[in-house]
Structure formats: C-alpha cells, structure tokens
Amino acid sequence: MTEKEQALLIDFGSTYTKLTAVDLGRAEVIGTAKAPTTVQEDIMIGLENAMRRLKEDYGVDPGRCGRRIACSSAAGGLKMVAVGLVPDLTAEAAKRAALGAGARVLSVLSYELTREEIERMEALKPDIVLLAGGTDGGNRDVILANAGRLAQSSLNVPMVVAGNKNAADAVKDVLIEAGKDVRITGNVMPELGKLNVEPARVTIRSVFMERIVAAKGLKRAENFVEGVVMPTPAAVLAAAELIAKGVPGEPGLGELMIIDIGGATTDVHSVATGDPTKPGVTPKGLPEPYAKRTVEGDLGMRYSALSLVEAAGVERVAKGIGQAGQAGLGGRKGLEDLEGREGLDEERIRSIAQDLNRHTDKVPVTEEEYQIDTGLGYVATEMAVERHVGYLETVYTPFGASYLQYGKDLTKLECVIGTGGVVIYGRNPRLVLQGALFDQAKPDLLKPITPKFFLDAKYILSAVGLLAEIAPATALRVMKRYLAEI
C-alpha cells in the first residue's frame, strides 16, 4: 500500500544520491538521507542504500511514498555545447538557454565552425548540441553551413535547433540525411535583442528525459520512480522561480537570488527583471532572462579551489580568509590577512588550495579549517555574483554623462538565499553570503545593497524544485518553513 500523501524526492548527484521525503498534507520534511551515487555499477545500489537509511533513521518507508520523482547531475551532469552566430547575440542567447535548462555548458562557439572546432566538440563529448544562429528571416548561411559540418561530424547526440526559423527546415533536412537526432524548436533570438529561451529549455528538458537519462545509466531507476524529470540545476532554478513568484493564494518572497557554492562550481540564480533603478540609464546589450542562471566553473571550494585562487588572486583570497578570522573564526591561532603577515603568505595560500583540491571530500574540523572555508566561500560568492549581475558604463556626451546598463540591476533586490556545504554546515554563513553585497569600491557593479539573507537550512532546494512539478503550493510552503533568515 502506498501513501498518496507522501512524496519521495531524489537527487542523483555526482557524488551523493540524496533523498528528501515530504508529507504533502502537513507540508513537512519527514526525513532526509544520502548515500554515495553508484552510476558506474548500478544506480539502484546507491538509491537503495539511501532508502535504507531513510527507513532506519526516520521510519519512512520509501516504497510507500505515493509520488516519487528525481533529478540528476550524475555522470557529469547534462553536458552541452552551444553554437550561435555573433558571440554577443545568438551565441550568448544559446548559452543562456542551455544554462537555463540546467546544463553544463562545455563550450560556446560562434560564426562558421572550423574543422578544429568540430574536432574539439567531438572530443568534449557533449550530451546535446544546441544550434542557433540568425534572427527569424535573418542570416541563414551560417547555421546551414554549421548544420552541414555537424552532419559530417562523428557527433551522434541529439541536436536541438533553435535558430532562424527560415533556415530550420533546411537545417533539419541536412542533419536527418546524416542520421542525426534533430529537434527543431523556437529561435533563441527571433528578433534582434529579443531573448526567447523558453522553447529551447522545454525541448532540452524533453530530450533529457527521453534520451539522456538512459544514456547516463539512470534508466533502471525509472522502474522505481515516476521519472528522472530534469537536471538538478534546473530543479534549483525551478525552486527559485517558485519561491520568487509564489502560487495563487500563497505569495512568494519576491525577486531573489540563490547562491549555490559547491566543490566544483558556484552557481548563481536570479529571479528578477533587473530593470534600471536609477533615472537616465539606458539598458544595452542582450536582454536578460527573468530567471537567470550563471555557473562559474573556476570558482569552487574543492575541485576548483586552485582555479579560485588563480581567478581571485592571492591577495583577495588572503583578505577573505583574514576577514573570516576577524569575524571570530580560526580561534586564537587564526590566520591573519596578508597585511597582518601572520601565517598567510602566498605560499601558504597556494598550499591550502592545493590541499583542498587534492582532498575533495575534506570536511572542516579545526577552527582554522572553518576559517579557510568561510574565507574561500566569501571570495567565491563575491566573484560569482560580480559576474552574474549587470554593470553600468558611463558615456560622456556633449550633454553630460549618460549611463548604459549591461545585464541586470539587482541593487534593490531584497532576498539572497544561500545553499551548499560551506553555508549550510559552515560556522558563519552570513559572512559567506555577504560576498554578494554591493561594494562601494566598485560602484558600477549592480549587486544587492541591503538584502535579507536566508539559508537553505535543510538542503532541500532541488527537492522543492522537483516537488513544484506535482504540488507547487505544498512545495512553496515546505520551502518557506525551512528557509532560515540569518
């Protein structure tokens, strides 16, 4: 017998298979459990291990949960290559569509693909290729030429075509002729400067469910769950949209940002229009998606600790760690910043990063380790948000200064939610998230000025995104219950 009133939400992560069981009637989390993901041998082993724990620890019988759905970032996540025409226009639009669908974007290519680029794509082994180029009625030649080259390539993966609609038929014919799996969808940029990522997102998601789940060895799980319905990042983005917008009868929190600081990447999601908040500012560049996701592959706490130091520079990292020390972390022997010159010189920073990079499963134990993690988390947040938000450019005209805004103005944003180990299990999550704040020294970067900070205390954002598929109002209530203001 199953309990219609219980839902089991599964996240097949790259390292852990995580379960969240929810009592739908009471909108309550009744248990969480995790076990190492076993995608190499049989995905079910890890899932069954986690389910056993759920039963032992919480008395929840997963077999009796009436609803069971899953998301996945196992086996490398959803890997995509995006192809467009002009880098700032359709190539950028294609990239945003792929990111919004929860993909890991391995490469973004523009103009006519060269032989070398095709070879690189073949080596990257993407799960899906997104092919865009040209506005509707605009350039047809380049997307057609690229379809021809993809047709001749050894890439045997689904190709989602989201370019000039007047070239779509010809593109389809060329690819089908070569035996490729082709899906035609709406142009990511039907008119110049108009972004239209939703159709591509929907198509990518259906390809994910039809083809990628099986290709990743997750098919067996589908005997047990109703479906592996989306990549994990897409679930987080879905949760972000739900929390921001609310549902009829249950208001959301309004425009917000979610920062997910992981071992390999730092993801930033913003659900906000990002319209200029100051008068006399002209928006420029490609419009931004209302629900926008950026992924920083070089900013992370473990796998990407070295590249984080590389990207931020030793000084900035030292400052971050020093700041965590000033906030009371690190104990009496805490590490000072570079100016303090106490134990935190360049060599020390590099060896810390190397150590974290080598021991990716390291969990902080000592005061000093907490201080380091907090400092690194702060820097990762700071840089990821800097790259996510828009910026102002001042143009001096004969009539005085004019301002151009590229990207989203998030200065008035009121809600920042943090997730990921360093904020959930760390000692000072607020300090980490303060990396998202507006910086007087960089007034052109449109970061939030006075937001409230919240914590995804039970680590349930992706589960909430999944639950939104079947019971959005309940999902929202569950999320609100466990969001902790800090």
Binding site: L85, V86, D88, L89, T90, G133, G134, T135, G137, G138, N139, R140, M189, E191, L192, G193, T282, K284, V395, Y396, T397, P398, F399, S402, L404
Partner: protein, 140 residues
C-alpha cells in the same frame, strides 16, 4: 516579395531619440523591416545586428556634430566582418557649424557611405533612394 531589412540607430555618444523614432516609423510604413538599435550605438553593434538579421542596409544617424569621428572606419569594419555588399546610409548634423554641404557629403562618401543626407531631409527622400538602391520598384 521578401521584406528588406534596415538596421537603424544613432551612432556614438549621441542621445537624440526623436528623429530615430520618426525614421523607424517611416521606414516601417514604407514596407521595410526595421531593426532599431536606438541611441548610443557603437559601430560594432550596427555590424553585429546586420550580420544576425542579414540586413541589406545600415542607416546611421548622427545629430551632435561628431559624426565624422564616429563613422570613420565603419565601411572597413563591415568588409572585415563579411558584410561586403551592405548599403551604408548616414544623415543628420554630421559636422559642427556651417560647413559646405558638398564637402561634407564628399567626406562621408569617401568614407564609404552610399548615401549622405543633410539636416532637414524628409524620410521620403531616403525611402525613394532605398527602393532604387535595393532594386525595388517605385511605390512597391
């Protein structure tokens, strides 16, 4: 017949928005597809837009006297970007003060513009030229 596309905008650090809207309206009513980039448009933005939309014409306005500096090199960049046959039109207060129009026109034609219009030109004049240059029948 297929609609011809015009990329329209005010170049440089120029914020004059009114004439731009009037031109957009006039070109659209004349049956063209207009991609209006608005004010404060850089050469690169004109070119990128023309590539994606496969435009036949780039129509540049400049009304603050710095047109010469802003427009210099646009033809070369078009060629460099593969826009070999694109028509370049320019109009407005292209230079400061009362300079001889013939000279100004020659200056801009030497820079690679196909049509150069002095202040006070009515949109209809440009539309007639567009039809002629694009091989469209008059009144089509």
């Amino acid at each position: 017949m297929e609609q011809k596309t015009i990329v329209l905008g005010v170049i440089g650090a120029d914020v004059h928005a009114v004439g731009n809207k009037i031109l957009e309206q006039a070109f659209r009513e004349a049956g063209f597809k207009v991609v209006n980039l608005g004010v404060l448009v850089s050469q690169e933005e004109f070119i990128s837009a023309a590539i994606e939309t496969a435009a036949e014409v780039i129509a540049v306005s400049s009304l603050y006297g710095h047109g010469e500096i802003d427009c210099r090199g646009l033809r070369d960049k078009c060629r460099e970007s593969g826009l070999n046959n694109i028509l370049l039109y320019v109009g407005g207060y292209l230079v400061v003060g009362k300079q001889d129009w013939k000279e100004t026109e020659k200056k801009f034609k030497d820079m690679g513009f196909d049509r150069v219009y002095p202040p006070g030109t009515l949109p209809q004049e440009a539309i007639t030229d567009l039809r002629r240059d694009l091989g469209l029948e008059a009144g089509a």
